[in-house]
């Protein structure tokens, strides 16, 4: 008897295979919910400054900060562009090197013994400690800034991916063995895809650190960028410029993280976890 005929009664559809995700008590929260806290804070700030409770020369009202942003005009776009380029360059370099280092250390015990203690020690160095050294070694142009940001992005990506590689289900690795996969094929076809959730966690932490290291890089020896705006605002006693720069760093950090988060969501659609089930 034909097996296809024998199994026709086994034909099943996916829809009934798993129960639907139980909806939360209030269903999916409205996307605007995240705006409530910042908007209320800004409104309260505005009211406190306008009513004179807070001194306007130290605590500029949000409306004043918005006006400052407009006044900065095309110069502001240039500052943002320069900072974005530095973060993008530094993050790309740091994250790429971290992926290579994590794969090498993760797959070879000798490489781990050789490299990991050094990485762990360097990880503990605060960002600002690198600045004088990088200025001495690399001068004051873009290179030290991008290097510093790359250092910032490197460690979270390295640590998370390494942990992901180490926690890949042994049974999946054994499946690769059954199919006689070479070491490279095992990395490409099983280890890296299985570690993708950890890699994305590392990339998101790395990106947020890249923004922090950007400010460290631009606070010293910069003539453009959002970090430079912070220094400029302090030196010219303009808290509105300082707050405008802080606001822009918050917005850019959030937007870049959202981009990475949406890429993560798309890449990890296969994950059978609460995160993907909540959508």
């Amino acid at each position: 008897m034909n097996t296809a005929a024998r199994t026709s009664s086994l034909q099943a559809t996916v829809s009934s295979a798993r129960p639907a995700v139980p909806a939360g008590r209030a269903g999916r929260p409205h996307p605007a919910l995240g705006w409530v806290l910042p908007v209320l804070t800004l409104l309260a700030f505005e009211a406190l400054v306008r009513s004179g409770v807070l001194a306007a020369h130290l605590f500029p009202a949000p409306s004043e900060i918005v006006r400052t942003l407009f006044d900065l005009g095309s110069g502001l776009a240039s500052h943002i562009g320069v900072s974005l380029a530095r973060v993008a360059g530094g993050f790309a370099i740091g994250a790429s090197l971290a992926v290579i280092a994590a794969v090498v250390v993760g797959l070879d015990r000798r490489a781990e013994a050789l490299l990991d203690p050094t990485f762990q020690a360097l990880r503990a160095v605060p960002s600002l400690a690198w600045v004088p050294l990088l200025l001495l070694w690399l001068g004051i142009d873009e290179t030290p800034k991008i290097t510093l940001i790359a250092i910032g992005a490197f460690f979270p990506v390295y640590l998370n991916l390494l942990s992901g590689l180490r926690n890949v289900d042994r049974k999946l690795v054994e499946l690769g063995e059954v199919y006689g996969l070479s070491r490279t094929a095992l990395v490409r076809r099983i280890l890296l895809p299985a570690s993708l959730p950890s890699l994305y966690t590392g990339l998101r932490v790395g990106l947020s650190l890249a923004w922090m290291f950007l400010v460290a890089a631009e606070l010293i020896a910069a003539t453009r960028g959002l970090g430079y705006l912070l220094t400029d605002g302090r030196e010219t006693s303009r808290p509105d410029i300082v707050l405008a720069a802080i606001l822009l760093l918050a917005v850019l950090g959030k937007v870049s993280d959202s981009v990475l988060k949406s890429l993560e969501k798309r890449a990890l659609v296969w994950r059978d976890a609460l995160e993907t089930r909540l959508g």
């Binding site: 296809a4 024998r6 086994l10 798993r18 054994e174 499946l175």
Partner: protein, 242 residues
């Protein structure tokens, strides 16, 4: 019939514990043979040795006259859990050995038809039930058209009803592909219904073997199968492993 598989393992140890002790097994082409025994009797270890996943032993494995020194495309393996790669679709899992570029291989879809899952070829494993996932694993195990398929308690994680359906499916597919099956199971009923021969193991050795002569298709409640099952249990009880 000719010998397809010949295994001889004088000794296999895990530390001080001897897991296999002068174990020999020969399988004829087209045979369905089960290994039954209590946990720790060495049956899964033997399967891993035949699969080439465990090479730390002093024995020999010969497939179709060729000595085996590692994993082979001529030996398919189906594990207790489906072990599907969750980031690949059902079809890509079945055609895993052909890599992504050849995952649209028509052979994949023929196999999915046979296991009754052609409708979910593009679904991700997370959408499958346990039984469906194990059917995908069976299709993947058959992708290279291996003459020998090893199964390590393949149906122990599914419910009794699904288990019966999967046993029927496995039998039908093995017959159609002319595949020799070596199955490790705890389930004496499963061993008796599926097998031509049941090897009863205890303490790393073959205690005895029971040949099932009942014609197919078999009735699960037939006296011959009940007798075979009782005989297997008697052997296990006699060896004080039950």
């Amino acid at each position: 019939m000719t010998a397809l598989l010949d295994v001889h393992v004088p000794s296999k140890r895990f530390g001080d514990r001897r897991v296999l002790d002068n174990f020999s097994l020969t399988l004829e082409a087209g045979e369905i043979v089960s290994l039954v025994g209590a946990s720790g009797c060495g049956k899964s270890t033997l399967l891993r040795i035949v699969a080439g996943l465990d090479r730390e032993h002093d024995g020999t494995v010969t497939l179709d006259g060729q000595p085996q020194h590692g994993v082979s495309r001529d030996i398919g393996v189906i594990f207790q859990e489906p072990r599907l790669l969750p980031w690949l679709t059902v079809a890509q899992n079945v055609g895993f050995d052909a890599d992504a570029a050849r995952a649209r291989d028509p052979h994949v879809f023929t196999l999915l038809e046979e296991v009754g899952l052609s409708q979910v070829a593009d679904a991700l494993p997370k959408a499958l039930s346990g039984g469906m996932a194990q059917r995908v694993a069976i299709a993947r195990g058959l992708f290279n058209r291996p003459p020998l398929l090893l199964l390590d308690e393949p149906f122990s994680a599914v419910d009794a009803f699904t288990r019966i359906r999967l046993q029927e499916l496995l039998l039908a597919i093995a017959r159609e592909h002319d595949t020799t099956l070596l199955l490790v199971t705890h389930d004496v009923d499963e061993a008796a219904w599926l097998s031509d021969r049941v090897i009863v193991m205890g303490g790393g050795r073959v205690l005895d073997e029971v040949t099932i002569t009942e014609q197919r298709p078999r009735n699960r409640r037939s006296p011959a199968l009940t007798e075979a099952r009782n005989r297997i249990l008697e052997i296990l009880e006699g060896a004080h492993v039950l």
